[in-house]
């Protein structure tokens, strides 16, 4: 068992970039994580049985549409909410058991970047204070060390030092998102939780932000969890992808395989819906159909069967389990280890 002090020392620093970090033990992992909300008329299962791990130097993508539980997952990983089943583990310890120094180590090692930099940055604070606050709060750095760190992280996201003396209102959306990333980097985290970090940005700005995030991943061996509705950005950013539908993992596998040869019909529908910038693209064999059913009253059997072009009787009756295949994992009655049946 690592002591908290030891955990602090393994935080990567820019002076010693552990390039191509080996996939060591997980920084953050979930074990059969579930969250149900009490609502009028019963229980709403926002997330069920989600098991995943964020390991150093790797990027995990979480893909799904609105209402699939992405935000609930993010909140649980940030300890902003408590699971109703299963657990989130930080370096082998249950998040809900972390106290004192261990909890501070977790807060420092896991940093979020949110979707909308217009609401995630305080309009009244100068950029210097926005970035310095988490550092000053830890009380471990002198003022001049904090100032130096602020300049350092601003440069890492492609902003100049004079930005520190200005207010967020002076910046465009793309620059604000860079500031939000700089704040996340300030405490030398091991894992960034990125919740749709480019969805509100213009196309030319999206590419800039995505490249910065990829640089950070590679240069400092940062682990990232990238939550997105867009398979194309996930393909660019991530090594592995987990596809979620109505709070359940339906497929997981390497990003390149998921985006070219998906196993689950829902993944195939998402892929067809990621419209390529190519008018000559051939029509898809698996066009998306129907709408998301109410999570309050989810369909019997496979939750996707109401929208699935390949659904059979068994799909309406039995809930498929997540099976191992040579290609990853999939929860579908129509897919076996050998492939499509």
């Amino acid at each position: 068992m690592k002591s908290p002090d030891r955990a602090l020392r393994v935080v990567p620093s820019p002076e010693t970039p552990p390039r191509a970090a080996p996939a060591g033990p997980a920084i953050l992992e979930t074990r059969r994580l579930g969250r149900a909300f009490k609502v009028r008329g019963g229980l709403l299962h926002a997330l069920s049985e989600v098991t995943l791990a964020c390991t150093p130097g790797t990027s995990l993508g979480i893909v799904g549409e609105s209402g699939c539980g992405k935000t609930t997952l993010n909140r649980l990983l940030l300890a902003l909410d408590q699971p109703t089943s299963g657990a989130v583990m930080f370096k082998g310890k249950d998040l809900s058991d972390l106290r004192g120094a261990e909890r501070r180590a977790y807060r420092r090692a896991v940093q979020p970047v949110f979707q909308n930099p217009y609401s995630s940055l305080s309009p009244r604070m100068k950029v210097r204070r926005i970035i310095a606050e988490p550092l000053s709060a830890s009380g471990e750095m002198t003022r001049s060390e904090v100032d130096a760190r602020v300049i350092e992280v601003l440069e890492q996201v492609g902003l100049s030092a004079d930005v520190a003396n200005r207010l967020p209102s002076e910046f465009s959306g793309g620059q604000r998102q860079r500031i939000a990333i700089a704040r996340a980097l300030a405490s030398r985290p091991e894992l960034l939780l990125l919740d749709e970090p480019v969805s509100s940005q213009d196309i030319s700005i999206q590419a800039q932000i995505l490249n910065i995030l990829k640089d950070l991943q590679e240069d400092y061996g940062l682990a990232t969890l990238f939550v997105s509705h867009d398979l194309a950005t996930v393909r660019f950013m991530c090594d592995e992808v987990v596809v979620i539908y109505l709070g359940q993992v339906v497929e997981r596998g390497p990003a390149a395989r998921i985006c070219t040869r998906p196993d689950h019909p829902y993944t195939a529908a998402l892929l067809a819906a990621a419209l390529p910038a190519d008018p000559a693209a051939p029509p898809t064999a698996t066009p998306p159909m129907g709408e998301l059913p109410s999570p309050l009253n989810p369909p019997s059997g496979c939750a996707y069967h109401t929208r699935c072009p390949f659904a059979q009787e068994v799909c309406k009756r039995d809930r498929p389990t997540l099976k191992e295949t040579p290609r990853g994992q999939v929860a579908c009655h129509r897919v076996t280890a050998e492939g499509w049946t």
Binding site: E65, A272, A277, P287
Partner: protein, 325 residues
């Protein structure tokens, strides 16, 4: 050759009347033929929504006061038309779908009330039957019951289909769509675009499709006009713009879009950000961010017609050297 349905010439929209007021649109010209779908694509602040609103004279009074140029709808200038006449064009001949259907719909009126209001204006008799048919046309299940429902009882995709049904109630010849799928989930966007294509064919409509998404343009448009800082920088048939973009901005923007079919080591980027209103650079507005820029680019770029229908405003068109048509 048939006359264009909509013909815009030298449209300039300034923030206020003064001739030195900052402009949102600068000398924009375009033609839209009957039945054609033209995509207006650009980043936020490029002026694409202002252009769409100007066609129906729906811009704010400050912008309306600062509007000059000509917007000819079937030969008649919309900018100088009396309000009485314009009222008949709005909804009857030109209709509009906006990004947020919840903002377009009245939250305290039933779907039926709102739909019937538009149908009545369109001169329909049997309103209940017509309303049911209109909902059925946009694939709303059990339309008779849905007429009694309120907007908050429906999903985003369903609301947007209802807005389309209201927009089409008077059988317009032109439908202006301003980012109608941006707030929708990907699988719902896909289905909504398919529905729009079917409606376009059934109603023989032309469409002005405003979007920032090249994937959507590729899916639904015949021609595309790329906008930057209040100007159209390149325009042409969709197949040609996507396979042979010649303006450095179009080319760079297309290259920077991530794809599901391959993952480059890094995405090609355009450095910097688009200029804010009132800060459009001299000459070609893109030159401070352009990799191909030279001293020429500080002066107004020439308009070049590369091939029939494919034009661009640029000093340095990026024609691919080893491409033969």
């Amino acid at each position: 050759m048939t006359d264009p349905l909509l013909s815009i010439r030298g449209l300039t929209v300034r923030v206020g009347k003064r001739s030195d007021a900052p402009s949102i649109l600068d000398e924009v010209s375009l033609d839209l033929m009957p039945g054609e779908t033209l995509g207006l694509v650009g980043e936020s602040g490029s002026g694409k929504s202002t252009l769409g609103m100007s066609v129906l004279r729906l811009t704010s009074p400050t912008l309306t006061a600062g509007t000059s140029g000509r917007i000819a709808w079937k030969g008649q200038d919309i900018l100088t038309m009396p309000n009485r006449k314009l009222r008949h064009i709005r909804g009857e001949e030109i209709s509009m779908i906006l990004q947020d259907p919840m903002a377009s719909l009245n939250p305290v009126q039933s779907i039926g009330t709102q739909l019937k209001e538009a149908l009545r204006r369109g001169g329909k008799r049997n309103l209940s039957a017509a309303a049911e048919a209109a909902l059925a046309e946009v694939n709303i299940p059990s339309p008779a019951e849905r007429l009694r429902a309120f907007p908050h009882q429906m999903s985003g995709g369903m609301r947007q289909r209802i807005v389309s049904a209201i927009g089409l109630a008077q059988d317009p010849e032109l439908l202006i769509c301003d980012e109608p799928t941006t707030a929708l989930d990907a699988t719902i966007q896909y289905q909504f675009l398919e529905l729009l294509k079917a409606l376009r064919a059934a109603h023989h409509m032309a469409m002005l499709f405003i979007t920032h998404d090249f994937g959507v343009v590729a899916r639904i448009c015949d021609r595309v006009a790329v906008m930057y800082a209040g100007r159209i920088v390149e325009t042409g048939p969709v197949a040609e713009i996507f396979s042979r973009p010649a303006h450095p901005y179009t080319k760079a923007l297309l290259a920077s879009v991530p794809s599901t079919s391959h993952a480059p080591h890094r995405l090609p980027v355009i450095e910097g950000a688009p200029p804010a209103v009132g800060h459009r650079p001299q000459g070609c507005p893109f030159h401070p961010r352009c990799a191909a820029a030279s001293a020429h680019c500080r002066h107004a770029p020439p308009r070049t017609e590369l091939r029939p229908g494919h034009t661009l405003n640029c000093w340095h068109p990026q024609e691919h050297p080893h491409e033969i048509a």
